[in-house]
């Protein structure tokens, strides 16, 4: 049975839009998808003309489509942006090495400069080594914390003004649920903003905040964009599995659920008088942190001491104190030396 495109262009539809269930032809779907991303970018004033934007590129579908579409919109609407690809090599055999190949192909096809930074270079540890130390349970804690900082470091290195990541609507919905479940009110509020900027760190933009994962896949499929589709060999923790499954089940029940969750998240307002952790900078590495010592430094200290479990358990505060003390000592030492 032939279905007409619901946008009334007269063509035959080739797909059912996951977000709205409307039948669309290829052209109208491209147009719809791109127009919506453009609207997200414009209405949130995500970028300013003349800025250098680091696209966090992993070779996966989200970042591949992001790179493609930012380049396309930048040309079509004259955003006036300079785009660069920034890739982080976590050091996961069988996952990252293959996906990096795909990033390199993107670089050639889209003609965008690519920089690769590795956990090994930045922290002295690959994820493979870390997993050998900590086992398969807390791998994502290390990986996730290091990733955030690694992107920041890379973007600063490249003189970028803003980091754009491929986080899509499904990711945002999942993050809202995770933060409700883990009781993190500050992040709960922060995670829905289109662009997060805190003092002392580069702003992060999510142009796909309202784009469904399924539509990103459809877009890549019809545009024949080349991406790497394998999941990480170290599967995420069980808890996240639950939250992820909930988002998928909700979407199956009602396709607008994902955007409805984001709306709910955007409307959450914190009561007056609730204390939120203050954002400052880590006294060890100088990157943003809500504690004296940031999570990345604590984790790294745990690894380097051969006691990684200390860093993730309840005793992580103790570890942070030791680190702070040591810093204070070297500082006073150097100020003593200054006097002579």
């Amino acid at each position: 049975m032939v279905v007409q495109c619901s946008a009334g262009c007269g063509c035959n539809a080739v797909l059912k839009r996951p977000k709205t269930n409307d039948a669309l032809c290829k052209t109208c779907f491209y147009w719809a998808f791109e127009t919506e991303v453009h609207h997200t970018i414009m209405s949130t004033k995500m970028f300013q003309s003349g800025q250098v934007v680091a696209i966090g590129a992993s070779g996966g579908k989200d970042s591949t489509v992001l790179a493609y579409i930012l380049k396309h919109l930048n040309e079509k609407y004259n955003y006036g942006l300079k785009l660069v690809l920034l890739s982080i090599d976590e050091g996961i055999t069988g996952y990252r090495d293959d996906s990096l190949e795909s990033v390199k192909r993107n670089q050639e096809e889209y003609n965008l400069p690519l920089t690769v930074l590795s956990y090994k270079d930045l922290y002295g540890w690959t994820m493979d080594d870390i997993v050998k130390q900590v086992g398969r349970k807390n791998n994502c804690t290390f990986c996730g914390v290091f990733r955030r900082q690694a992107l920041e470091r890379g973007a600063i290195l490249l003189n970028c003004d803003v980091i754009a990541t491929g986080h899509n609507a499904d990711d945002v919905a999942e993050t809202i649920l995770m933060n409700l479940l883990r009781g993190d009110i500050a992040r709960l509020q922060r995670c829905t903003s289109h662009i997060t900027s805190s003092e002392g760190s580069l702003p992060r933009a999510k142009p796909f905040k309202y784009a469904y994962e399924k539509e990103i896949v459809l877009y890549a499929y019809f545009k024949k964009l080349d991406y790497f589709a394998t999941e990480c060999v170290y599967a995420p923790d069980a808890y996240r599995g639950h939250a992820r499954a909930l988002v998928k089940d909700l979407e199956a029940l009602r396709s607008t659920s994902i955007i409805d969750i984001i709306h709910a998240g955007e409307q959450l307002a914190i009561k007056d008088g609730v204390k939120l952790p203050k954002q400052g900078v880590c006294s060890a590495c100088g990157f943003v942190s809500s504690n004296v010592i940031c999570k990345a430094c604590v984790l790294l200290e745990g690894l380097n001491r051969g006691r990684p479990k200390l860093a993730i358990g309840k005793s992580n505060k103790a570890l942070a104190e030791i680190l702070a003390d040591r810093l204070a000592n070297t500082a006073s030492l150097s100020s003593v030396q200054d006097q002579f």
Binding site: T20, C28, H39, K45, Y77, N168, N179, L253, L268
Partner: protein, 466 residues
């Protein structure tokens, strides 16, 4: 990129705790008696200590909110279930305590039973039998009980409602067939469940106001409410969490209180057991259906499963939601038309939808994929700005007034956009699934006209208002 980063990592409470071996455990409180209760997988209690703990928790839930005054008239909504049954037992205990006891409750309660049999397709006999159970229960507890059937939620006002006291007959009424037609026209079970909740709230408000009760106790447990919290989030009701899950909800003018909100189902089961509460086994809209039948059902299953593995789940969800502010919406209290900012169906404040929001993104997607590029002529005819700054400026000038100029290209489809004047986001989502909106007892079309007109008037005189 892998989407996991520091923003969404699991924390300590998300680590599964092993279960305590219960056999021969001693109560953690008195350290003398053998434990009969195991809470949170690791905390054993004897019967007496559990009851003390439970009574104390119940009273402190009520007390800390300072919601009650001496001799308050309170309606206790009774469903026949374990949770509301236990609630009533605990209140009875409080009423009967000696004057010197600081746990003594001084209120004037009556029961309220809403018969939902019509939409649950129960036979007349079953409905009568359930009502008899409730009557018997009220009699045993020496409390008056008001009884009413859900279909009267469709009545325009109290004059159309048949309210019975200490007796119940199922009688045919025009509203019964209307209710059946209405629910038959709802596309999804999720929307049916949401609509049921709204109608019940409306009916209870009507009755309480008429009977001159300013407070109503509702009996949902912590487990139920935690499921409802996630369900509310899944249906876009983020702004309403504080009212829908919190201890007190005063959206309708009558104050709804939830004194069982700190008891998880397991605690309710122990309570009911020790207090010898019997219950009706009541079906629900999704009773015979699977765990993915509706959003409400799904989230409840989710909470129950998670709680079994991670006993901090529910308390963490509550801790989070208790820090949220009830949405008050636009403050028009000084305006002539302060009700214009309330949702007709759930009476919550209607959220604003700024240009850059999920709510705008949702309607844009719908418009865009229904009208296509040709429906967006304005996009092309608008002078294409040559740089971002210029476009942003154009956008900026109109952000407070979406639907005009540079952003009119993103304007929203007629229907749903208009509903935004009279319904909150969550109710709009529900009403999208209702095929016979005219049967819902709100003056959707008329209010829509009135409010839109008032809005236009306000806009035209705005510059003269102080």
């Amino acid at each position: 990129m892998c989407s996991i980063n520091e923003e969404n990592l699991p924390v300590d409470t998300m680590v599964a705790t092993p279960k305590l071996l219960f056999k021969d455990a001693v109560c953690r409180r008195c350290r003398i008696l053998k434990a009969q209760v195991l809470l949170r997988k690791t905390d054993p209690y004897c019967r007496d200590c559990f009851m003390k703990y439970a009574v104390h928790k119940f009273r402190s839930t009520i007390g800390k909110a300072r919601a009650l005054q001496h001799n308050d008239r309170v309606l206790l909504a009774y469903s026949g279930g374990l949770s509301s049954g236990s609630m009533i037992h605990l209140i009875k205990q409080g009423l009967e305590a000696s004057d010197s006891n600081k746990m003594k409750l001084i209120i004037k309660p009556s029961l309220l039973y809403i018969d939902e049999g019509e939409i649950l397709n129960l036979s007349k006999e079953d409905r009568k039998a359930n009502a008899d159970f409730v009557l018997e229960y009220a009699k045993r507890n020496c409390l008056d009980v008001y009884m009413c059937s859900l279909e009267f939620s469709l009545a325009a006002d109290i004059s159309g409602v048949k309210l019975q006291m200490n007796s119940y007959e199922v009688e045919p009424s025009i509203y019964a067939s209307q209710l059946e037609r209405l629910f038959g026209s709802v596309k999804s079970l999720t929307a049916k469940e949401d609509l049921l909740q709204r109608l019940k709230q409306r009916l209870i408000t009507l009755l309480a106001t008429h009977l001159n009760y300013s407070k109503v106790f509702l009996g949902p447990s912590a487990t139920r409410l935690a499921g409802q919290l996630l369900s509310a989030v899944g249906q876009g009701r983020g702004a309403q969490i504080a009212q829908e899950i919190g201890f007190a909800d005063s959206r309708t003018g009558v104050v709804f209180l939830r004194p069982m909100r700190e008891f998880v189902d397991k605690e309710v089961a122990y309570l009911a057991h020790f207090l010898e509460v019997d219950s009706l086994s009541l079906p629900t809209l999704s009773s015979k259906l699977g765990p993915t039948a509706s959003i409400g059902r799904l989230t409840e299953e989710f909470v129950v499963t998670l709680q079994a593995n991670f006993p901090a789940t529910i308390s963490t969800l509550f801790r989070t939601s208790d820090k949220l502010k009830p949405n008050v919406g636009v403050d028009r209290s000084s305006s002539e038309f302060k009700d214009d900012s309330r949702c007709l169906l759930c009476l919550s404040a209607i959220e604003q939808s700024p240009l850059c929001s999920a709510s705008t993104a949702r309607s844009i997607s719908q418009t865009i994929s229904r009208s296509g590029p040709s429906g967006f002529k304005d996009v092309e005819s608008e002078p294409q700005s040559t740089n971002v700054q210029q476009q942003l400026k154009a956008c900026d000038a109109n952000c407070s007034n979406p639907g005009k100029q540079c952003c009119k290209t993103m304007d929203v489809g007629a229907n749903e956009k208009d509903w935004g004047v009279v319904l909150c986001y969550g109710c709009r989502v529900t009403m999208e699934d209702v095929k016979t909106p005219e049967l819902v007892p709100i003056n959707l079309q008329e209010e829509l006209r009135l409010r839109s007109r008032r809005q236009m008037m306000r806009q035209s005189v705005e510059q003269f208002l102080l």
